[in-house]
Amino acid sequence: MANFLLGRLLQSLVLLLIVSVIGFAVLHLAPGGPLAQFALIPGLTKEDLARMAHEMGLDRPLPMQYWEWLTRLLGGDWGHSYRDNRPVLDVITGRLPATLELMGAAILISVLAGAWIGVMGAIRRYSIFDMLATIGAMVALSIPTFWFGLIVIYIFSVHLGWLPPGNRTTVGGDGSFLDYLHHLIAPAAVLALVEVAIWSRYIRASMLDVVNQDYIRTARAKGLPERTVLWHHALRNALLPMIALAGVEIPTLLGGALVAETVFTWPGMGRLLLDSLGYRDYPVVMGILMFSAVLALLGNLLADLFAAVADPRVRLA
């Protein structure tokens, strides 16, 4: 076990290094730069821009910039945001609560609803319910989130007035728990739609594998009630492959949603990434990249560990 962990850790470090090199190169080689937004501001001269480039460290050769960034990062300094002059780590952690709230709610809804739809679809294979669920999943996966989000706002906020048109809380409001909840409904539902479709398909497939296994037949033969057979014996085994999927979902959970966060004016990580990319705020973009990479690796590692705990057949070597 210890060997396994150590090996994975070393592997992860090498991967992170590769990710950072590629990310840094692509980001800096992409045309444009953080100074472009000032080009149309009257009064800034070429000398002023050069001075700013120097302050940002942009006038040095790229490998040197990378080396400086890397050594600072290893020393625990993630750098300063160009856009709002705060430490990158503060900028990123400041956005985590909003993203956790939204993605957590969306994933919770989608796992619960997805499991139910998937199981029902599997035990009543080719029933009308199953067919509707299949069609529904295809439609949900195909609808662009941007469009769907705007439609939801148009119907439920502008026309019916039931839900707020985005934002995490009422602007200038008291920020009560109910207020947060009220604002969470629409974006979480829109995001969950796609996730429900994905989860229900996976669980349906996994359930179908399991219900035809011998031990299910044995359970039935023992005379166990159908409910116990399905929800205890079958679903537990069907969920095992889902652990790996959940591991992959962890970066999604914290990485935020680019589109939904824009439409619903949600101040999360997805918006931060978009704003930082638009601005070419290199330190923040690199920070988000490394943060997501760490999460992805961690998610996979956790998934492997949990799989070993949950499934005695899996041995870590």
């Binding site: 045309p31 444009g32 730069g33 953080p34 100074l35 472009a36 937004q37 000032f38 080009a39 149309l40 501001i41 009257p42 009064g43 800034l44 001269t45 070429k46 000398e47 002023d48 821009l49 001075r51 700013m52 302050e55 300063h80 856009r83 709002d84 002059n85 705060r86 900028v91 400041g94 956005r95 909003a98 705007l150 706002i153 148009y154 906020s157 502008v158 007035g161 707020p164 048109p165 985005g166 934002n167 995490r168 009422t170 602007v171 200038g172 824009t262 439409v263 619903f264 004016t265 101040p267 999360g268 918006r271 931060l272 978009l274 704003d275 638009g278 601005y279 070419r280």
Partner: protein, 566 residues
């Protein structure tokens, strides 16, 4: 395109200019009557009788499609940051909607007449307001003024604007409310520059270890404005609250909130549902204008902006060096269709680089007329003959070029397509090559690497018509100059007139120089002026006191006098 709007916006004199308070009210009233009978009578009566409350009450939410992030106002920043500055900080004086300077941190605005400025424009004597205080209670004094001038001049400081202030020397603190300084040479735009130079506190910044990143100050900025800092939720909003020690009129609102709504359609929706009280910066998108006008209890009206939309020619490219080409392209441009069909008739046609509201605006420039036949004849006469594929050429140079602007700006993309067609009609081949903003306005623009560009520019220095940055031949960055002359325009007469206009404080002489200069740029056409921008302003019905002001880049300039009609 609907005809009503055409008449409304473009009839005889430009109604955009006469947008007075009364007009705003009339606009809102008819809109209210269309949708809702109920509140109409109520609000119009109360609006006219309304007076500000005796103590700050209520809150206003200003919706912005960009996020303010720079809270040390002397650092380089973008327009959207200024909305916060106008309310959190103060300048020595501010410029009102008529272009007049009103005292802010000074007791009186210095002029030659009141002895504040010497007749040659070189000696300045400022008398400061004794009432002004920083939000932490420390009095604002002459030492602060001196500190700010020195900070802007400090070469290590990444100042957003040095022009004009770099001419100041010999700053002397006479007593806590009086300060004098000298200028190296007379510079007429200085009062305008000082009107948007927001002063920062010496006692909090002099000890900052890195003056470009004073973290404590940036996290909790302290100013002398009508509102003081409460908090910023990054990516979401900034909250200010009424200052109890403000030296000027107001504030009447208890809270002012700047809410960041990145998506323009969503911003409009939030205005529709009432979550946002005022739509700032770009305003409501033109395609929503018709619907917005019918909203109950909202004032929706186009207001002029200082930005001029242009086709900028890179005169470094051989194809644009022949004046006949530039003039022919101008003649072949169907300006009216661009304005009517693509911009919903909101902006107004112009021939100048100055907004019509400027005191130096030349209203007698030759009027543009769409005349492709004349354009063809002009090119024929100048020796540009159609080649095999219909594209004209002259001595080996093909009349072929690219036009670039910000990718993803759909409205501009449509305008480009229209011009592409217009110009194809006279044998000029334009291809569209757009870039993301960070690319377009980086090297490509600043170092004149483009052929032609579609760009909206505010050529003025605040309310001052000095456009040296953009037209002086010494300011061509591609040739090592320090300005923004990216078209690489060089005209000795223009240089002379610009120098004349900037070096005298005599307004009549300045005006003569700038009128003449506009004739020259209209003739030389380094930029083809298309129109002066108007934005569709949206304000909630009962929010009183809002006044459009073409002399500032951000319309929250007078939020200290906004209030809710009861």
């Amino acid at each position: 395109m609907n005809k009503d709007r055409k008449n409304e916006i473009t009839s005889n004199t430009n109604p955009l200019l006469t947008t007075t308070r009364r007009r705003l009210l009339a606009f809102g009233a008819s809109a209210g009557a269309l949708a809702w009978a109920g509140p109409k009578t109520g609000w119009i009566a109360s609006a006219e009788a309304a007076t500000p409350p005796s103590k700050p009450t209520g809150q206003a939410v200003i919706g912005l499609s960009q996020e303010p992030t720079v809270f040390l106002p002397l650092l380089a920043h973008i327009e959207v940051d200024e909305g916060v500055y106008f309310n959190l900080f103060s300048a020595l004086w501010r410029v009102d909607e008529k272009g007049a300077f009103q005292p802010d941190l000074v007791a009186e605005v210095p002029t030659v007449e009141n002895g504040g400025i010497s007749a040659d424009g070189l000696q300045w004597h400022l008398k400061l307001s004794p009432k002004a205080k920083w939000h932490d209670g420390t009095p604002f004094t002459a030492d602060d003024v001196k500190f700010n001038i020195e900070l802007i001049q400090n070469p290590k400081f990444l100042a957003g604007r040095r022009a004009g202030i770099d001419l100041i020397e010999d700053v002397k603190v006479v007593n806590p409310t009086e300060v004098t300084f000298k200028l190296k040479k007379a510079y007429a735009p200085l009062p305008s520059i000082l009107s948007w130079t927001f002063l920062v506190p010496k006692h909090l910044l002099e000890k900052a270890s890195d003056i470009n990143k004073p973290e404590d100050f940036l996290a909790h900025p302290v100013g002398t404005g009508a509102f003081k800092w409460v908090e910023r939720v990054p990516g979401d909003h900034i909250t200010l609250t009424a200052s109890d020690s403000y030296h000027g009129t107001g504030p009447y609102l208890e809270k002012l909130i700047f809410k960041y709504v990145p998506e323009l359609t969503v911003l409009y929706t939030q205005f529709q549902t009432g979550d946002v009280d005022y739509v700032g910066i770009q305003g409501i998108t033109p395609d929503h204008y018709d619907e917005a006008k019918t909203l109950a209890d909202r004032h929706v009206t186009p207001v002029p902006q200082p930005f001029i939309e242009n086709i900028a020619f890179n005169l470094g490219k051989p194809v644009f060096q022949d004046p006949a080409v530039r003039e022919a392209l101008y003649l072949a441009m169907d300006k009216q269709s661009v304005i009517e069909q693509i911009y919903y008739g909101l902006p107004s046609q112009t021939e100048s680089f100055l907004p019509k509201q400027s005191w130096a605006f030349n209203a007698d420039l030759p009027k543009h007329a769409y005349d492709p036949e004349k354009a063809k004849k002009l090119l024929d006469d100048a020796g540009w003959k159609p080649g095999g594929d219909g594209v004209r050429e002259k001595s080996g140079v093909r009349l072929e070029f690219t036009n670039s602007t910000t990718a993803g700006n759909h409205v501009r993309e449509q305008a480009q397509q229209l011009l592409q067609q217009n110009w194809a009609d006279i044998g000029a081949k334009m291809s569209i090559q757009n870039f993301p903003p960070a690319v377009m306005w980086g090297e490509n623009w600043t170092n004149s690497k483009f052929d032609s560009a579609m760009v909206g520019i505010d050529f003025m220095v605040g309310p001052d018509p000095d456009a040296t940055q953009y037209f002086a031949s010494t300011g061509i960055p591609a040739k090592g100059g320090g300005g923004d002359n990216t078209t690489q325009y060089a005209n000795a007469d223009v240089d002379k007139l610009l120098a004349e206009g900037a070096s005298t404080v005599d307004v009549a002489k300045r005006k003569a120089a700038y009128l003449k200069m506009q004739e020259l740029t209209r003739k030389d056409l380094p930029y083809l002026p298309i129109f002066q921008y108007a934005m569709v302003q949206g304000v909630k019905g009962k929010l009183e006191g809002f006044t459009p002001n073409v002399n500032v880049q951000e319309n929250c300039w007078n939020a200290c006098t906004w209030y809710w009609a009861s």
